[in-house]
């Protein structure tokens, strides 16, 4: 592949970038960063250590924690002033939907999957609680516990098969699951009462009669708990893993994080919250019918999450407000007309801004105007807006999905952080490299052995019987012309492809085949020729995702926010590795905003975070400008000093000569030579493979510098 950033442009851009770095954080603040990450950092920071940052920290604390505290306090105290039972009913529903949407956001926002089963989990949780109370006479809290468990277990059960594939198949599986759930609720009349519905009474809680006010407070307490626990979880390595696997599932597997298990865990968690919300829902309405939990409700829930803003607790909360108020908005004619006209104006303003900057009207700008226009015109023509409820939802959702993909809260978070210039918290000092990447003593024994490895693609023999040995502590070069099978060979070793035949032994034991995750777990880390970074995460977080032997805190403590020490250690270790590759100044930059060279180095730092026995570098110099190649060579040299064993695929002969202890040359999927770099360069077979003709002169030693 031809990827290159010419030297000068690269350096220049890097310079611009460093300047931009200072103010950058305020640009890229996204819902998540504002709402989830910063509190975590703020909460961990030791006040006495950084006198200078105290003003910033206070501002951060006030804006982020302050907003939370104000919201929670006002929600808690409203019933003291308002005794209107209708308003109280809406508030209760708000708390329930808040929990439900926070759960839905885990799959839709963090895992990035379209989940159509959350309404079903609400229903299943509701019926579980209802049946517990009516049939088994359980108390309220135990019934709610059962609801949660039902969500968790059924969610896990569905996730196991469904999450093996992404995209449409997953959406279809969740859709089928919800239809199946409705069928079961409808038909299992002995247990659920079928279409007749299920009536239940609110049991006493600790001997207290749960009137509307008391029940609201109960729901509120659950919402606050869910909020706090989820905030802690999403700020931990779990939340990072969720986000990472959405950006690159291949890389999360290759970093030993386990894409599949995290997906299943995330989905089960979201479903459990759905079940809990269902339990509260049952006690709120005290009457359940299967048709309350169908596809229609699901669409409204999606509207809430998408409009509120994905990947954000605030977004889910805002979405819940919207869902609760929506029926009132629709029934009030004037309000509806105001909202649709407002929506149209916003769409036009957004399109105007887009047009004035690029002189181009995109579909993204025009489509919301058309949709909102239909809404406005239709609002005048139609007699009864209630009848067109679904069409109205559809038009609003359409406009948001197309025109405002970050949702209202994503937009607001960006806007607010720009307005108040909220800066990120300071990082702990970097660990010693020795702590982050322990030096290995090596005996020079064989670490990795390939025995007659083959991998065919249809009629193409990409790897055709390769045998080689990699000794511990050495840098082993793997070279050959384009298409000679180098990349396929390491893809087979690292488990991306299963071999057609042949054996791979690591320290004498057979390496798992065909699973990136399993191979990563036994101590092989790799980089990718076509970068597989977690683009939306910062450089620091990219490394933190991959860190091994750092996260020990059990999940319950993580949920309670007691993993601060560990988190700080992880940051320090990650910083040490970033320092090794010269990126500690860009720790807070998002990976996708880094220069191309920096992205390559970041992949190396991330692979090192695995503390691997074997590191595979797949064309790390591809596309690098000359100064960056020098940096790369120095990075690899310092990695060697740690006693790391490296397989280096490389085209640049000078890099290979400078770094490699042994070189294996592939051509046409077969080994044609092996030896020290200088031996290999004089080998006539190698010369022929590279130049296509016989030559007496041998390969030149180094690339002449460009004039």
């Amino acid at each position: 592949m031809d990827f290159v950033i010419p030297a000068q442009a690269g350096i220049q851009r890097q310079k611009q970038f460093r300047e931009a770095d200072k103010t950058k954080f305020s640009f890229h603040l996204h819902g998540t960063y504002l709402i989830v990450w910063i509190p975590a950092y703020a909460g961990m920071t030791d006040f006495s250590k950084y006198g200078m940052g105290i003003y910033d920290m206070l501002k951060r604390f006030l804006f982020i924690r302050g907003a939370e505290i104000i919201a929670l306090l006002s929600l808690a105290s409203i019933p003291l002033f308002v005794s209107n039972s209708y308003a109280l009913g809406l508030l209760t529903l708000l708390a329930i939907y808040g929990i439900l949407l926070i759960g839905l956001d885990v799959t839709v926002g963090y895992l990035g999957q379209v989940n159509l089963a959350q309404a079903a989990f609400l229903g299943l949780g509701a019926y579980a609680a209802g049946i517990c109370v009516t049939t088994f006479g359980l108390g309220m809290l135990s019934a709610l516990g059962v609801s949660l468990l039902v969500g968790l277990l059924l969610g896990g059960l569905l996730a196991f098969p469904a999450l093996r594939l992404d995209g449409p198949q997953f959406a279809l599986a969740t859709l089928s699951f919800s239809a199946l759930a409705t069928t079961v609720l409808n038909e299992w009349e002995g247990l659920t009462g079928g279409a007749q519905g299920l009536s239940l009474d609110r049991p006493l809680l600790f001997g207290i009669l749960m009137d509307a006010k008391a029940f609201y407070w109960l729901c509120f307490i659950f919402l606050a708990l869910v909020w706090l626990l989820m905030r802690n979880l999403l700020a931990s390595q779990w939340g990072r893993a969720f986000e990472a696997l959405r950006d690159s599932a291949i890389a999360t597997d290759a970093m030993g994080v386990g894409t599949y298990r995290h997906k299943v865990a995330g989905f089960a968690l979201g479903s459990a919250l759905g079940g809990l919300a269902g339990g509260l829902y049952a006690f709120n309405f005290q009457y359940l019918q299967p048709q309350s939990f169908t596809y229609d409700l699901m669409v409204i829930l999606l509207l809430g999450v998408v409009l509120g803003g994905r990947k954000s607790l605030w977004g889910a909360f805002f979405g819940a407000c919207l869902i609760v108020l929506l029926p009132n908005l629709l029934s009030n004619r004037l309000l509806f007309e105001l909202i649709s006209a407002g929506g149209l104006l916003v769409a036009i303003a957004a399109a105007w801004r887009g047009w004035s900057s690029s002189k181009r009207l995109t579909f993204q700008a025009v489509a919301p105007i058309i949709a909102m226009g239909i809404l406005v015109v239709g609002g005048y023509l139609v007699e009864n807006t209630e009848n067109w409820r679904k069409a109205i939802f559809a038009l609003m959702l359409f406009s948001v999905v197309v025109g405002l993909p970050d949702g209202v809260m994503g937009f607001a978070a960006r806007f607010l952080s720009q307005l108040f210039r909220i800066s990120p918290s300071e990082l702990p000092p970097a660990s010693k490299l020795e702590d982050a990447l322990p030096t290995r003593q090596h005996s020079g024994n064989t670490l990795l052995e390939l025995q007659n490895l083959k991998r065919y693609f249809g009629g193409v023999k990409a790897v055709d019987g390769v045998s080689m040995k990699v000794r511990a502590g050495q840098i082993h070069g793997l070279i050959g012309p384009n298409g000679s099978g180098k990349s396929t060979a390491v893809n087979v070793i690292s488990g991306l492809y299963a071999p057609t035949s042949g054996e791979i032994l690591l320290q004498g034991k057979a390496l798992p085949q065909g699973s990136l995750f399993k191979v990563a777990r036994v101590g092989v880390a790799r980089t990718f020729q076509n970068l597989q970074l977690f683009a939306e995460l910062t450089a620091l977080e990219n490394v933190m995702v991959a860190l091994r032997e750092v996260y020990h805190t059990p999940l319950p403590l993580v949920l309670l926010g007691l993993a601060g020490k560990e988190e700080q250690r992880a940051q320090a270790d990650a910083l040490a590795l970033l320092k090794l590759v010269g990126l500690e100044a860009q720790a807070r930059s998002r990976a996708k905003d880094l220069t191309y060279g920096a992205q390559r180095f970041l992949e190396i730092a991330r692979a090192l975070a695995r503390k691997p026995a074997l590191l595979i570098l797949d064309e790390p110099a591809a596309g690098l400008a000359h100064p960056d190649v020098t940096v790369l060579v120095n990075i690899i040299k310092s990695i060697r000093e740690c006693g790391m064993t490296v397989i280096l695929i490389e085209h640049h002969m000078d890099v290979v000569s400078e770094l490699c202890d042994v070189v294996t040359v592939l051509d046409g999927g077969q080994v044609i030579a092996e030896g020290t770099p200088s031996e290999v360069k004089r080998n006539p077979k190698v010369i022929k493979a590279y130049l296509g003709v016989e030559s007496e002169a041998g390969l030149p030693d180094a690339m002449p510098q460009p004039a």
Binding site: D166, G167, P168, T183, F363, K390, V401, L496
Partner: protein, 292 residues
């Protein structure tokens, strides 16, 4: 249990299964070119059926109504492609899933308000009086469904295999970039696939309406089973959908006989989830490979 009753169940279920297969075939068409499917396809079936009914009520003879209905379906398919799919595919996001659901919802609401919420009969010149074949009742209506399904699928397959445009269609599904280099516009091919898929859905609507009657919710159960057939067979499985469709139709017919009509939908849904667990790419699907 009398075997002839079981056989009867299996046969009439199989005819319904053919309609699921036809809709599932429509999913395959768009999946091949764009790796996307229309989650609002059920609404497309329903809207085309309503439109065809309106054509009949306007006095158009049945045989002229059919092409009219198919054209309407194709036009709706194009709308879905333009409004719901193209942008998301350009952005390589999965927003298309949401957008096609949303467009379906819009269509549903429109149908509810334009044609009303009641189910209406769909007149047809084909008789519903049963013929007795080997002790089983088969209606000419059912036979017409089978003929219609095979006609449409056959015509589309013929188009794909025997015309250059059809080969271009396959080229886009095999390698989009390379097809562009041959001068084949991928965007237009995807449009074509959505148009064809809409047409296929319309045909399904016209074929099934005389049996199920026409109403806004006529396709909501139908579409779930079509999804199931498509996933169980594999979204790139070709004629595998016919076998799975017949199998599922027969199975659910037996299920509703033994467990009650409320459980009718269950086997398809269970099969879909099971298929994902055992063979994620479908019984007849090809396995995919991760790439870096």
């Amino acid at each position: 249990m009398d075997t002839s009753i079981i056989l009867q169940m299996v046969v009439s279920g199989a005819f319904m299964g053919l309609v699921y297969a036809l809709i599932a075939y429509g999913f395959q068409l768009t999946f091949a070119t764009s790796k996307s499917i229309n989650f609002g396809q059920g609404e497309l079936v329903m809207l085309s059926a309503f439109f065809s009914l309106t054509l009949l009520n306007l006095g158009l003879p049945y045989w002229l109504m059919v092409p009219g209905g198919l054209l309407f379906g194709a036009a709706l398919g194009l709308v879905v492609e333009r409004a719901g799919v193209r942008l998301a595919l350009e952005q390589k996001s999965e927003g298309w899933i949401l957008l096609t659901i949303i467009l379906g919802l819009l269509g549903f609401s429109a149908a509810e308000n334009i044609w009303g919420r009641d189910d209406r009969p769909f007149p047809t010149p084909i008789s519903a009086d049963a013929l007795h074949v080997f002790g089983i009742n088969i209606t000419p209506l059912e036979i017409s469904v089978a003929i219609g399904v095979f006609l449409v699928m056959g015509a589309v397959e013929l188009f794909k295999r025997k015309t250059l445009m059809g080969k271009a269609f396959e080229a886009v599904s095999a390698d989009r970039d390379a097809a562009e280099l041959m001068g084949i516009s991928a965007t237009r091919t995807i449009m074509l696939s959505y148009g064809l898929s809409g047409m296929v859905a319309a045909m399904a609507g016209i074929l099934i309406s005389p049996i199920t009657t026409v109403g806004p919710t006529m396709a909501s159960a139908l579409i779930l089973k079509a999804f199931a057939v498509a996933v169980v067979a594999g979204l790139d499985s070709g004629f595998g959908v016919v076998l799975i469709g017949i199998f599922l139709g027969a199975l659910e017919s037996l299920t509703s006989f033994y467990l009650g009509s409320g459980w009718r939908e269950a086997p398809g849904l269970v099969l879909l989830i099971l298929a994902l667990a055992v063979r994620p790419n479908g019984v007849f699907g090809k396995s995919t490979m991760r790439k870096v």
